[in-house]
Subunit: 331 residues, 4 copies
Amino acid sequence: MNTHGRNFRVTTFGESHGPAVGAVIDGCPPRLSLSEAEIQPMLDRRRPGKSPLESPRYELDRVELLSGVFEGQTTGTPIALMVRNEGMQSKDYEQLRTVYRPGHADRAYEEKYGIRDHRGGGRSSGRETLARVAAGAVAVKVLAGYGVHIAGEILSVHGVTGEEKIREEILRAKAAGDSVGGIIGITAIGCPKGLGDPIFGRLDAGIAAAMMGIGAVKGVEIGEGFNAATLCGSENNDQIDENSCYRSNHAGGILGGISTGEPITVRIAVKPTPSISKVQQTIDRAGKPVEIQIQGRHDPSIVPRAVVVAEAMLALVLVDALLEQQKYLVR
Amino acid sequence: MNTHGRNFRVTTFGESHGPAVGAVIDGCPPRLSLSEAEIQPMLDRRRPGKSPLESPRYELDRVELLSGVFEGQTTGTPIALMVRNEGMQSKDYEQLRTVYRPGHADRAYEEKYGIRDHRGGGRSSGRETLARVAAGAVAVKVLAGYGVHIAGEILSVHGVTGEEKIREEILRAKAAGDSVGGIIGITAIGCPKGLGDPIFGRLDAGIAAAMMGIGAVKGVEIGEGFNAATLCGSENNDQIDENSCYRSNHAGGILGGISTGEPITVRIAVKPTPSISKVQQTIDRAGKPVEIQIQGRHDPSIVPRAVVVAEAMLALVLVDALLEQQKYLVR
Amino acid sequence: MNTHGRNFRVTTFGESHGPAVGAVIDGCPPRLSLSEAEIQPMLDRRRPGKSPLESPRYELDRVELLSGVFEGQTTGTPIALMVRNEGMQSKDYEQLRTVYRPGHADRAYEEKYGIRDHRGGGRSSGRETLARVAAGAVAVKVLAGYGVHIAGEILSVHGVTGEEKIREEILRAKAAGDSVGGIIGITAIGCPKGLGDPIFGRLDAGIAAAMMGIGAVKGVEIGEGFNAATLCGSENNDQIDENSCYRSNHAGGILGGISTGEPITVRIAVKPTPSISKVQQTIDRAGKPVEIQIQGRHDPSIVPRAVVVAEAMLALVLVDALLEQQKYLVR
Amino acid sequence: MNTHGRNFRVTTFGESHGPAVGAVIDGCPPRLSLSEAEIQPMLDRRRPGKSPLESPRYELDRVELLSGVFEGQTTGTPIALMVRNEGMQSKDYEQLRTVYRPGHADRAYEEKYGIRDHRGGGRSSGRETLARVAAGAVAVKVLAGYGVHIAGEILSVHGVTGEEKIREEILRAKAAGDSVGGIIGITAIGCPKGLGDPIFGRLDAGIAAAMMGIGAVKGVEIGEGFNAATLCGSENNDQIDENSCYRSNHAGGILGGISTGEPITVRIAVKPTPSISKVQQTIDRAGKPVEIQIQGRHDPSIVPRAVVVAEAMLALVLVDALLEQQKYLVR
C-alpha cells in the first residue's frame, strides 16, 4: 500500500538502487504556482553528506516534474515527481544478498514477498523517504496558502539535549562503530479549526499513522503524550478564558480528533540506525548462522535527517485534512 | 469518516442518547460460526457499573445481529450489529446544550459541524466505543482461527503500579471530584509473519492510528517505544540466533512495518477523564465565560474500561492485515 | 464490497429473510433537515403489491432512523437507516435450499462463498435495493438543496411503448407464467458544471457502475449511447451557440467525464425477471439435474419497480460528485 | 481521481504535451517475471501512424520501467512505468489556447479547474490511454498466469460490418473531413468463477465503469445487453444441463455481479472522434462566437486504436477482482 491520503493522494515508488524514486500527487488543487525550484530545498535538507554527522554518500537528488504543471501552475491533474538514482555502489551490497541485517526489514520483506532487492535496502531503504519529502514540499506550499506552517527540531539524542552535546554524542557513536536514537518535536501553527473526521479519520490518528510509518519511529505523542497518564483531569484539561482562548494546550491542538486552532504539537521517538559496524549475530537465507559487520556509508544517527521527513509527513496529513474539510465547511 | 479497514471494513454509527449504536462489518470471511452470545462477553467487559471504579450508569448493552449470519454461520455478506440505547437520562445534560466542557470535544464538534448533539457527548461519547468493541469481538473470533490472541492490561494509573494501589488511586481521585490517566499495554501473540504493507499500509502505522483514534489516547509506543531513543544500535537491534530465533524483541514484533512473528507489543497513554466535578472555567456558545462543575455518573478513570477497547482496535487492525496478506501469500 | 461512494459513503446490509435491511450514510453534510417521513415516500414507490403488475407480497417497509439526526437536523455523523423484515414466508423457499434457480445468483453465491442464505435470494434479493432507495432518498434531499432534480420513466417493455400497451404486455407475461424486460430512462436536471473527476472518477463511469450494479441491468447508455456509433462527428458534436449554449445534447450532459450543466440523460436495459413458473432445467447443489417451476409471489416485470432504484442510484452518484467537487471549486 | 482498482491499484499521470506520461502499479503480486519488452507490444498496438486509418503522428512510445522489478522479477513493490513524450508539435495547438473544441473536454476542464493545458487536449488527450495500456499489459501478464485471456475486435463502424467495408467507411469519413464511431466487442475467456463482490463491487459494475471511463465510450453492454429488454425470462435465463454446464450465455458470464466461469462478453459504443476539419460553431474563453476547423493529425475513427485500450481496461478490472477474491477463497 503505497498511497497516502484520501484527498491529497500521494503514491510513492522506487528502490534505493533502481532507476529512480518518485511520487505521484493526485488531488492537488489547481492554479497553485509550482516549480522544481520550490521543491528542491526540502530535498536538499534531507540529502546526506552535508556534515560529519551524516552518511558521506553523495546524492545529487535533483527533482524532475513530469506532469501536472502548465506554465508554472498546477492544473488539478496528477503531479509526477521523479529523482533519478545516481552514484549507487550496488556491489557494496553483494554480501547482503543472502544475509539478513539485524534491525532491518531484510528478513521481513523476504518472508513476506519471497523476493527482495537487497541492494541498499531496496524499497525499505531510507532513500524512499525522498519521495515523501518531495510530495511533502508541495503540501507545505499548499499549507502556506492557508497560513499553516510546520517546523521540526531535534529534542534529544541518546538522552542528551543541546546542539553541541548532541553533536558530540553522534560523533562518539560513529567512532565506536555504533549508532544512537533520539526524539524529534514537530509543531504546526496556524492550523484552522475543524480539521479531522471522527471516528476513524481523526486528525490525531492520521498523524500517529504518518509518524509511526516513518521507518525508524517507535513512538508518537501528541500534546502531553505519555505525561498525560500521570496527570489529574484538573491539571490536564485546557480551560477556556473570557476571551474564548484556551488557557493551556495539553491537548496539543486536537480534541475529539478535531483541530482546535491551537498549535499542533507532536513528538516522535527515533530508534538508533540499525546499520552498525560492530559484530552482530544473524542468519542467512538458508538459516545458517552468520556474524555480520556492516561496512559502508551509514548515518550514525538518523535523527538529524529524519526531521524534514517528519515535517513532510505532517504536511501531507494536514493538507489532506484541509481538503477533506472543504466538503463540510459551514457555509 | 466512520469506516475502519480496507478488507475487514467496520463502519460504526450512533450517538450516546440516540436510538442505537452499532456497526456494519463488511468483508468478514464466510462460514465462520458466529452468534450474539459470542459477541456479548467483550461488550460486558466494556460495560460500566461493574465496580466502584467505574461510572454507576446502568447499561444493559445487549447486542443484536441484524444480518450476515445464516443458521449460525457468516455468509460473507455484511454483518450488522446493533445495541439499543436504554436508560439514558438526557435531561441531565440539558445544562450542557450551550456550554463547552473543558477537555471534551464539545466546542470542536460545534465549530466543525455548526451543530452538535450535546446529550452525553453525542457521537464523541465513550459510548461509541461499544460499536468498536462489538466489531472487535468478531475480529477476535476470526483471529482465534489463525491462532492469534490479544490481551491487554493496565500498566499504571497516575504513575502508580499494582492492582491495589491503582484501585486506591482511582478512588482517591473520585473522592476529590477529579480524575486520573494511566498506561495500558496490549500484546498480540501468534501473529503470522508478513502482515503489513509498506509504505503506507505498515502494520505499526495502522496500530498507531487505531490506538491514537481511541478518544482519550495521547501517546502510542511499539516495542521499546520512547526508550529506543536512549539506546545504541548495538543494544536495540534484535540479533538472530542459530535457531533462526530473534534473541530479543525490542522491535515489538514489527520490522519495516511488517510483522516478524514475534509478539506485537503496544503501549498507550490514556489521559484523565475530562469530566470532573471540580470547578472549571469555560465559555458558552455565545462566548460568555461560565464556571462549570460537571455532575453526573462519570468514570474517575477511563483506563480500566479502555483496556477492552484497545484490544478490540488491535484485533481490527490485525484481521484487516491478515485478509490483505491473503492476496500476496507466497503460494 | 457493500459501500458506495467516496464522500457520501453508503454502506448497505441485510438479507431478504434476515431480521432487517438497512444502510449507513457516512459523509452527509450537517444541518440538513431530515426525518423518517421524508424518506418514506421513495420507499413506498419501490414497495410491491401496489398493482397487479407487481408481486402481491405485502411489505410495510417502515424506515427507522437510528442515528445522525438531532432535533430534526443532520449532525454530520453517520445516519443509520433500518427497515425490519416482516411478513416473510421463509418456508416457501425451503425447496430452493439446494436448487439453483436459472438466471439467479444462487449458484454464483454458493460457488463464491461456499454458503448462501437461500431464503428469497438472501443478499442477492431485490429486497436489498430497499436500502439503496432509503439512502437515495437522503441523497435526493441533498441534491434538491443544490437545485438538482432526477426523474425516471419506463421507455419500453418487451419492445412495446406507451403506458397501456406496456401494462398489457406485463399482464400477458404474467398470465403465461413468464416475465419481460424493458428499458428505463433517467434524467437529472439542474446539475452544476464541473462534477466528475478524470481519469478514474469520471462522472459517466460512476453512473455506469451504479446502473450496471442494479441487479437486473445489462446495459447502460449516456446521451446518444449506442446510437453514437452510427453517427459522424459532425452530427454528434454538440456545437456551442453565440449565447454560450450547447445547440444539442448528444453528449448527455457529460464531456471528458465532467458535467457540462446540460441535462444528464441515461438509459438502462433491464432483463426479464428470472423467476418464472415455466419449467426450466437446472441442477442442485450435488450436481443432479432438476426440473424447476418457481412458484411464489414474483414480479412479472421488474421494470416498474426498478425506476425508483435507478433514480436513487443516480442521486447517490451525483451527491458524491457534488461533495467531491467542493474541494476543487474555483474560489 | 487517477487511481483504478482496490488491489491492483493503477495511478496514471501525464499530459499529451508535458514531459512524460506513465503509471504506477501498486499491488502487483511478487515474483512475476516482467520486462519492458513484454509491455511494449500492447503499446505498439495502440500507437498511431501504422495505417492510413489512423493519425499520421509519429510516436515512438518506448516504455521505461522505473521501479518494482529486480533481476527480471516483480518484488511486490510499486512498478512505475514511464513513456517520454516526443515529437510533439505544441505550436499547432496555439490557436486552441482560448477556443473550446466541440465534442472535446476543453470547456469542461476549464470550467472545473479554472485552468487547462490546451496543448493536444492535455490530460484529456487520448494519449493518456497509453498509461492505461502499459499498466494493462502487466495485468494481461498476471491474468495469463491464471489462464485468463482477453481479446477485442471491431464489430461495426458507422453501422457497417466487415473489415473491408469498415476500412472504406473510415477512409470516406477522412476524405470528407469528418469522423465516424463504431462498436467494439471484448471477450475474456478462462475467467475463474466467483470474481466480483456484491453489492457495490460487482464485476459487471466494475466493467461498466472501466469501459464508460474510456474517453469516447457512450454505451456498455454485458451479455445480451439492450437486447435483454426485448426478451422473455424463459428466453433469457441460462438453464443448466445435466453436466452442470450452462446451456447458453445470455448473462455474459456474470450473475448477481459474480463471474460464472462462462466467457465474459462486453460491447461498447465508441462515438465519432470529435476532432473534424468541417466548420463548427463554438465560443472562446471570453464567450465570443468562433468558427473552428480543426486541422492536424487526427484519427478519422478512434475505433481501431480503442480496441487495445478496452482490452487493457478489462484486464485491469479482472486482475483487481482476482486479487480481491484471494481473500475469500473457499479453502
